[in-house]
């Protein structure tokens, strides 16, 4: 079964999903993770981050695991992992196609 039916993930979507692969996270932790992981190349504004979290929740790619005051933590779901894996495969194919073209393949 496909993890996500709504086409490829955008770059911020991809990194937000990636941030949950190891552990549960809250919003600010996700922003820090993405900043660190991409060495500042991708930064998430609060509007972007919380809109994506709400969207992923609606699509059942992540689930809320706890609320502490206004701080909410989330974890990735099985469907979310599948969606991430599909996107990773797609990107891998894109890179391989690009590399083989450069090599004259």
């Amino acid at each position: 079964m496909a993890g996500r039916e709504k086409g490829p993930l955008t770059e911020p979507m991809y990194y937000v999903l990636m941030s949950f692969l190891r552990r549960e996270m809250c919003g600010t932790e996700i922003a820090e993770f993405v900043e660190h992981k991409t060495a500042g190349r991708v930064s998430l504004g609060p509007g972007t981050l919380y809109t994506l979290l709400a969207k992923f929740q609606d699509e059942a790619l992540i689930a809320e695991t706890g609320v502490d005051g206004r701080k909410r933590t989330y974890q990735i779901t099985h469907k979310g992992r599948q969606a991430f894996q599909e996107e990773l495969n797609r990107l891998r194919s894109c890179v391989e196609d690009g590399l083989s073209s450069l090599d004259g393949g």
């Binding site: 770059e11 911020p12 919003g27 922003a31 504004g45 509007g47 919380y50 809109t51 709400a54 206004r70």
Partner: protein, 411 residues
């Protein structure tokens, strides 16, 4: 100190509003709030400084939206105000803080709820408005069609025609707005940044809307008369026909009058291009001993431009009068009637149609007949002891003798 300024862009122009607010901050004007009408913004004055203002589309739940304030603040964005049904406004004085939306696609996603709600609202408003207009047209269709033919109340006619036209235009404007907002979302979904639209000059808007207002609401009132009915005293009104007098009508009653009573009354004339109307009401205010109440006669004569128009007007007039008779049965009505025997068709030589209704008013018998003959429509109401069968020939005789009227208005 606060300053109020008109918003120079449409609320659909996200980039335009953001840029404008940023510019205001550089001039020392810091947004406090938007007015309820959403057309002006209130600014607090202070020392000019660079400040970024960003709009965050309103989401599905107000509570969930509220929960965002704290994490937004942690990331450098402070809540300023909100424009109901549209956006939350955040500002940041930290140049290091990332943009509120760092990619156009996420802003496009964020707009989804707002767009869905707007479309739902626009469609609901349009349906409700169309329903109300349809109801209004249904309720007033008789008087509207009569007005259209008799041209009695031009202003009412103008607004009845204008209302559906405005409704269609308003629906088109809503459709354009929906298209506009969908276009914005699609632009963002493609990853393209928004561009600010050209700002408008508020006085220019006044230059557009004020003339439209004047053209639609003021000019018609100045040009079109509210009523084209002219009123004359019976002496000054030269009627097209010499209608039977009270004495002539009572001559066929069981107790004929010995002499013509002093009658008072008035004549109303409407020179409609399709069907000129004459309405002659006369009454005798002093009681005659053998009658329990005063006489009251109304002769409503319409000469239509063609027999076909006459048939149409006849039917509409008949239905309107039938409704009136029903209304007059209410005890609260000043001269209410009882024992109503509603309009029933009758046959009469030489008449295309004849309908008669009878009633009692003020303890006295009365009747109304509606007669159609070629282009002529005659509607007579009379409170009398005479029978309508005896009076009708007198009216038909009068109808055969047309005279050229020349009236002097008493208006």
């Amino acid at each position: 100190m606060t300053v109020k300024k008109p918003v120079p862009c449409s609320l659909y122009d996200i980039q335009g509003i953001q840029e404008w607010l940023d510019e205001m901050a550089l001039q020392g004007l810091f947004l406090e709030e938007f007015t309820r009408q959403k057309d002006r913004a209130v600014f607090r004055t202070g020392d000019p400084k660079p400040l970024r203002y960003r709009l965050d589309p309103v989401g599905k739940s107000k509570n969930k939206d509220k929960d965002r304030e704290e994490p937004y603040a942690q990331m450098g964005w402070k809540f300023v105000d909100w424009i109901p049904q549209w956006y939350y406004i955040f500002s940041s004085d930290n140049p290091e803080a990332p943009e509120l939306y760092t990619d156009p696609q996420s802003l496009s996603v964020s707009m989804d709820h707002m767009i869905r709600r707007k479309i739902k609202t626009y469609i609901s408003i349009s349906l409700l408005w169309f329903f109300l207009i349809a109801l209004l047209i249904f309720i007033s269709s008789h008087s509207f069609l009569l007005n259209l033919l008799l041209w009695g109340y031009p202003q009412d006619l103008f607004y009845m025609i204008l209302l559906p036209i405005i409704t269609v235009i308003a629906a088109l404007i809503l459709a354009v707005n929906i298209r506009r907002i969908l276009k914005i979302r699609n632009t963002l979904a493609q990853g393209l940044p928004l561009k600010a639209k050209k700002r408008w000059n508020r006085p220019l808007m006044l230059v557009i809307w004020l003339p439209i207002y004047i053209l639609l609401l003021v000019v018609p009132r100045l040009i079109l008369p509210s009523s084209r009915w002219e009123t004359f005293s019976p002496e000054n009104a030269a009627l097209s026909h010499q209608w039977p007098t009270i004495a002539q009508l009572e001559a066929v009653a069981p107790s004929p009058l010995e002499q013509e009573p002093e009658a008072d009354g008035y004549v109303r004339v409407n020179t409609s291009p399709f069907a000129p109307v004459q309405e002659f009401t006369y009454y005798h205010p002093l009681r005659v001993p053998q009658y329990p109440t005063d006489f009251s006669t109304t002769i409503h004569y319409i000469q239509a431009s063609s027999p076909k128009t006459a048939r149409w007007i006849y039917q509409l007039t008949l239905e309107e009068r039938a409704d009136q008779l029903k209304q007059w049965q209410k005890p609260t009505y000043v001269s209410h009637i009882t024992d109503l025997d509603p309009f029933a068709p009758q046959s009469w030589p030489g008449l295309d149609r004849l309908e008669v209704a009878s009633f009692r008013a003020g303890g006295q018998r009365g009747w109304t007949f509606a007669a159609l003959r070629g282009q002529d429509i005659l509607l007579v109401s009379y409170r009398t002891l005479s029978r309508w069968e005896d009076c009708l020939p007198l009216f038909l005789e009068a109808l055969d003798r047309e005279i050229i009227p020349q009236s002097t208005s008493i208006n």
